[in-house]
């Protein structure tokens, strides 16, 4: 723990970041205490000036390899989570969550795989209108959030999945979604316009597209 760096450094050494093992301890403490994933910049903001948070995370990640608790990357954040294989021990901690409806599960998957996606596009894919409650439920769970508006007439809102979604399903990023590459290769994630022609819409439920409630 002797201060490293050359003695020539003089005054600069006073402001040196703590040695890496100490930085690792600090990141460990911060992440242990936090319930939600912390982004690199959040961590850096709380660490002493000059710390190499990314490096500390790397050390920490390998230190917790195979432990009962793991360091996981969630979107652009990092968090400690118990190892999934020990879930059976945790029954007492389980908070029973309301079961998602089939509509909500499908809508969630469509948003995850097609994001950013508008409500109309979700409806086009599912072939039925999306009830307000379905999206509200996903928004409430904080698995989905409103993204940027689409630059098309009417400037519809788009939906995207959140870090909490990634956290919940143990995904590092949306690139890790199951079968994503295969679906993309098969062209199933392309937005393919309906061939122009006499009412090619398949669902006839367009009434639901513009739920006025959504915009009140």
């Amino acid at each position: 723990m002797a201060p490293d760096g050359d003695p020539i450094d003089g005054v600069g050494a006073l402001f040196d970041a703590p040695p890496m093992p100490e930085q690792e301890r600090m990141v460990e403490a911060i992440l242990f205490a936090a319930a939600t994933p912390q982004r690199l910049q959040d961590l850096a903001a709380r660490m002493p000036h000059g710390s190499d948070v990314a490096e500390a995370l790397k050390h920490l990640e390998s230190r917790y390899q195979g432990r009962g608790v793991r360091l996981v990357k969630v979107g652009d954040g990092w968090a400690f989570r118990t190892a999934p294989d020990l879930g059976f021990l945790m029954q007492r901690e389980v908070v029973e969550t309301r079961r998602l409806s089939r509509a909500a599960i499908e809508t969630l998957a469509i948003i995850a795989y097609h994001q950013p996606v508008t409500r109309a596009e979700i409806e086009e894919i599912r072939g039925v209108s999306v009830s307000r409650g379905t999206l509200d439920h996903l928004l409430e769970l904080d698995w989905v959030k409103v993204g940027r508006r689409r630059d098309t007439p009417g400037r519809p809102a788009t939906y995207v999945v959140t870090q909490a979604f990634l956290d919940h399903f143990g995904l590092e990023s949306t690139r890790d979604l199951p079968e994503l590459k295969e679906l993309r290769a098969a062209g199933l994630l392309d937005s393919r316009p309906v061939p122009a022609g006499p009412q090619a819409d398949d669902d006839g439920a367009e009434t639901g597209y513009m739920d006025p409630d959504l915009f009140e």
Partner: protein
Amino acid sequence: MPEDFSDGFAAHPTTADAFVVDVDGFEGPLDLLLSLARTQKVDLRRVSILGLAEQYLSFVDEAKRLRIELAADYLVMAAWLAYLKSRLLLPPDPSEEGPTGEELAAHLAFQLQRLEAMRRVAAQLMARDQLNRDFFPRGMSETVTERKRTVWTAGLVDLMRGYAGARTREDFAPLKLKRGPVYTVEAALERLRGLIGTTLDWTTLEAWLPEAWRLDPEKRRSATASTFVAMLELARRGDLELRQDASFAPIEVRGRGGGDHGA
């Protein structure tokens, strides 16, 4: 595993013509079409759209025969599929514009494949380890306490503007405040009335100025003027007497005593 989304339907072993009419289990016509397509028992990529259209139309006919009311969107789909069927069966009419029957059929096939894919991955997603079910966050999270530190700032321009503002306030003050410190005649009257009756010796006007109005020249001027006017008024009423020995000599005042108000 991906099949578990079709459980509403898969329970019925059916063929196209012996289809159990149970529209409740479906989420719209596309869902129904997907279920019908599965009964063709081929890969969805090779499903016969023409055959599917016929299956759907016979489903709708069956529903009609049983006097089951179908929602409007199912009927819209039926009409569209009937149109598609005719486009697929009849030789193409060169005068007709728009997409060919094959293009429309291909798009429908795409939609069905896409919906099936989404259902499949949705099931995979839900089968993943989940937070608070299979893995857990810290149960005793410590909240970060915030220490607030306020840094006050002001620039040189603020400073100069502030000074300029203070020095030139009157220039900008609205009319009603322009009077500055004014000691009103009413206030002077009030003050004199309370005291003058008991003051039977000659005293100078200055002695009657309120303490707070004596030092500042501007205020002193205002108080002097108002007190003088008030004294004139009280003299007119006969409550006091005024005298001045010479021009610019001190003005002196004394009460008339008795306090009787002669007009």
